[in-house]
Symmetry: C2
Subunit: 148 residues, 2 copies
DNA sequence: AGTGAAAATATCTCTGG
DNA sequence: CCAGAGATATTTTCACT
């Protein structure tokens, strides 16, 4: 992980479709050299994939929320399985503290959110926070990672 | 937003570097036709960008946490400005309820987390949940979006 | 909006330093 | 580990439907 690889990661984080020759100009290397570096970063699992970023609202999902779930002791496995099946769940965190799980969910309407929460209520006590805005959405705090 | 565009969005969500000719085969269209559709999706803001997905651990950020912040009434603006400056903040949600903000943060060590929380404590009461695993990480619940 | 073909770029492979 | 050259594939532009 030299300075060039950091530059490549930052560039690919900002534009996942950047061509190898573009990247090459950025780091003053030839396209094949960049391709080789990127291939190795993928192999090592540093880069796990590439994805288009989509606007949730424009794609018909105007409502997002964070749902804290205090899962009943005996229902942990069932809860995990349920969450994996629900398409509405965008992110799921298994965390320390009384709320063992925090979900980020996206729905088309409040009634759909209601349905979703009913689904969860059998296995956990939930606390829902509606997301009003998201001032920060990085995929990676790269400035931190790179420091020493 | 016809069926073909949904297919393109799903494909690009799964592989943001897919070529137009690959996508063309998938939806039975020529490469230029696909390029035109994708260009329009970008113009309309449905696709907001492309990004490489990176493995936080392998990039030197082994610790992630959710931090709920009950911001002091008079400090909301200052808090927002602070959060925008902190590289450790990966995501920031402005939500309903007593915890006005929920942050997802990534750090290199627990001592760095401590430093970060000290930073926030002047402007808010915080509650920190360490992330132990993340069983789901989609960018988009597309199966939901598409339905009727 | 989409196709098909030609021109311009980009990528891939391989040889060599 | 990288540069350069040639072969291959992809993107882009354009005339036409």
């Amino acid at each position: 992980m030299d300075a060039i690889n950091w530059k490549l990661l930052k560039a690919l984080e900002g534009n996942g479709r950047a061509s190898f020759s573009e990247l090459g100009k950025l780091v003053h290397l030839s396209a094949p050299a960049v391709a080789e570096r990127v291939r190795k970063l993928e192999e090592k699992g540093v880069i796990t994939g590439y994805s288009a970023q989509l606007n949730l609202e424009k794609v018909g999902i105007p409502i997002t929320a964070l749902v804290e779930c205090q899962v009943y002791r005996t229902k942990e496995r069932a809860f995990k399985n349920l969450v994996l099946e629900l398409d509405e769940v965008i992110e799921c965190y298994n965390v320390t503290g009384p709320y063992a799980f925090v979900l980020k969910v996206g729905v088309k309407s409040m009634s759909k959110l209601d349905e979703l929460l009913e689904c969860l209520i059998d296995l956990s006590d939930t606390n829902t926070m509606m997301i009003m805005s998201q001032p920060v959405d990085r995929t990676m705090p790269l400035n931190i990672a790179q420091k020493s």
